[in-house]
């Protein structure tokens, strides 16, 4: 059945479709509709559990607890709340607990511009917590994709047994489109980890052995854990190497954009090739190298000051042109003007 819904609604419905039965969250613009939908579903169906937490620290940790207890669990927040959740996201990786953290990005740092869209938290999704960890991060660019990738995020969380980050933004979350949800078929990965109350395990944020016994000064135990986690995430990520490449034989320039920005610059495909990563992390290194090799210019268009561009430069080992869209204004006209200036030629 076709429905007129926005990005936040589609994201929530995708989570429920994936089998989520627990949501904890703290109200924050522009993610609050997800919390409201969780509260409404809980009122209708008590098997779907909901906690309105006292803060984002509580919400982030409630999600890990609920997952340990056997529920597919998620939360939704925006920049300031996402920053507060960072410690717990690292903890989830140390504990090897599946969960989904939704970050509907707004302009930061700090309170910033609560109702304006940004892509400010790209690097925070991978580098926000302490230590090395390997989160899978997805960023859709349409309402239909919000639904699809919410399901994918839960599947990847189960398979990687770790928190997965789902990115959205203040634009996409309130973008309203007609979607046929029934036509979106994604297989659901079931929960396999036995819930609390079924064994004699010590789940610990301390470095530990395979049998979960704490090993706080054991380099060997740390390296065994690190290699196991890294290999598992690489293996799972390979199944989700999602991107979109729109070639253009007459162009010597490749535009790279993701999320809502890729949607805004879509009309430029008549004159340029466009690469859109959907899996933001782990970085789509080989895929991008393949797509980018024949282009004279690489341009990264993003709503932050060069976060993804820095990664592209590092992976491709060449300079890229940056078009930052700052202050909450993501407009095609700004991109065209900047392209004209930086490429030194006319842009249609």
């Amino acid at each position: 059945m076709k429905k007129l819904i926005n990005g936040n609604e589609a994201t929530f419905l995708g989570a429920v479709k994936a089998g989520a039965t627990f949501f904890a969250g703290y109200p924050i613009t522009p993610s609050s509709e997800i919390l409201i939908q969780a509260a409404e579903l809980n009122a209708k169906n008590p098997n779907f559990k909901f906690i309105q937490s006292e803060d984002e620290l509580a919400a982030a940790n409630a999600v890990i607890g609920a997952s340990l207890a056997g529920a597919k669990a998620f939360t939704a927040t925006s920049g300031p709340g996402f920053s507060l959740m960072q410690e717990t996201i690292g903890y989830g990786h140390q504990l090897e607990v599946p969960a989904v953290y939704i970050n509907v990005m707004r302009v930061g740092p700090a309170t910033g511009m609560p109702t304006r869209p940004s892509q400010h938290d790209i690097l925070q999704t991978k580098y926000g917590s302490s230590g090395d960890y390997f989160p899978l991060v997805f960023y859709p660019n349409s309402v239909e994709e919000c639904y699809r990738y919410a399901i994918v995020a839960f599947n990847a969380a189960e398979e990687s047994r770790s928190p997965v980050i789902f990115l959205s933004d203040a634009f996409l979350s309130h973008l309203t489109e007609v979607v046929d949800l029934d036509a979106i078929a994604v297989d659901i990965v079931p929960r396999t980890m036995p819930p609390l109350g079924s064994a004699k395990r010590t789940f610990t944020g301390l470095t530990h052995n395979e049998d979960l016994s704490p090993r706080t000064a054991d380099t060997g135990a740390f390296i065994r854990w690190h290699e196991k986690i890294k290999a598992r995430h690489e293996e799972v990520a390979a199944r989700y190497a999602h991107f979109e490449f729109t070639g253009n034989k007459k162009s010597d320039t490749l535009l790279i954009a993701y999320g809502i920005t890729s949607r805004v610059i879509a009309p430029l495909k008549t004159d340029y090739a466009i690469f859109r990563p959907i899996r933001i992390f782990p970085f789509l290194s080989e895929e991008l190298k393949r797509c980018a090799k024949n282009f004279e210019h690489i341009v990264v268009v993003e709503a932050n000051d060069g976060q993804y561009a820095m990664l592209v430069e590092s992976e491709l080992k060449r300079d890229v042109i940056r078009i930052p869209l700052l202050g909450g204004k993501i407009s095609l006209e700004t991109v065209k003007q900047d392209l004209r200036k930086k490429l030194g030629r006319e842009v249609n």
């Binding site: 904890a24 559990k49 409630a62 607890g65 207890a69 109350g197 789940f203 610990t204 704490p214």
Partner: protein, 244 residues
């Protein structure tokens, strides 16, 4: 047997000789055994600090959380599986300082969990800094001139909630501690047990005690059983107060 609940294979414990947490482990295990709790129907959630390490010595599924985050995790676990008995064991610094906001709200929501607070009045694991419960005037490594700020009143904080069970006991009063823990686990709602206990190595020795035994003798002399039916405990009383 309560011994079956303790992971003797991980002994000796990390705790210093004379530490009060071992006594809590014993009385908690006895209480759980009396109530028929084991790995199929209960879980223990602990915070960071010396007390947090208790989860590693219990033979059921346990979670050693981030610093301060026991309560949101425990409440979520209970929400997902109401059939599990969810018991939080943590220190005063973890519960009342870094986790203080969660304590207010878990109590307000009357989350059906048991919270056992080992109140040793110090940050022991990090070397003996003053905590939220350190008595006025106490010399610690972070209050060289004596603590200048009043400690938090845990009883009054818990009593802010409309419904609660609050118990105070000490590591000297072992039978009483067991009763407090047992009745807290049985209480249908938020139940908080404050256990005054000794940290000899990172607190007691700095303030003039030569042994854990001397600290226990102080608890014996100081704390008296509160008469039945009171709705508030005096600072030198042990007992249980409830509002259901």
């Amino acid at each position: 047997m309560y011994r079956d609940l303790i992971r003797l294979d991980r002994f000796p414990t990390k705790w210093c000789p004379g530490c009060g947490i071992g006594q809590i482990l014993i009385q908690l295990s006895k209480s759980m055994d009396q109530l028929g709790l084991d790995h199929t129907n209960s879980t223990i959630i602990t915070g960071i600090g010396c007390t947090g390490r208790l989860s590693g010595y219990v033979n059921i599924d346990t979670v050693y959380t981030l610093h301060g985050r026991t309560l949101p995790m425990a409440e979520a676990i209970k929400t997902v599986n109401p059939n599990l008995k969810v018991i939080v064991v943590s220190g005063d610094g973890d519960l009342a300082s870094i986790g203080g906001n969660h304590l207010i709200h878990a109590a307000r929501r009357n989350a059906d969990i048991t919270v056992i607070c080992n109140n040793n009045q110090i940050y022991g694991l990090t070397g003996g800094q003053a905590g939220p419960t350190t008595p006025l005037g106490t010399r610690t490594v972070s209050t060289p001139a004596g603590a200048q700020r009043n400690p938090i009143n845990l009883q009054n904080l818990i009593k802010c909630a409309a419904k609660y069970s609050y118990a105070r006991t000490t590591s000297y009063h072992q039978i009483h501690m067991q009763k407090c823990i047992r009745e807290a686990i049985e209480w249908p709602g938020f139940a908080f047990v404050e256990i005054i206990s000794q940290c000899i190595e990172n607190n007691g020795r700095r303030i003039g005690f030569n042994s854990a035994w001397e600290m226990l003798q102080l608890y014996k002399r100081t704390y008296k059983r509160a008469p039945r039916g009171k709705d508030s405990l005096e600072p030198d009383e042990i007992g249980i107060i409830r509002q259901g």
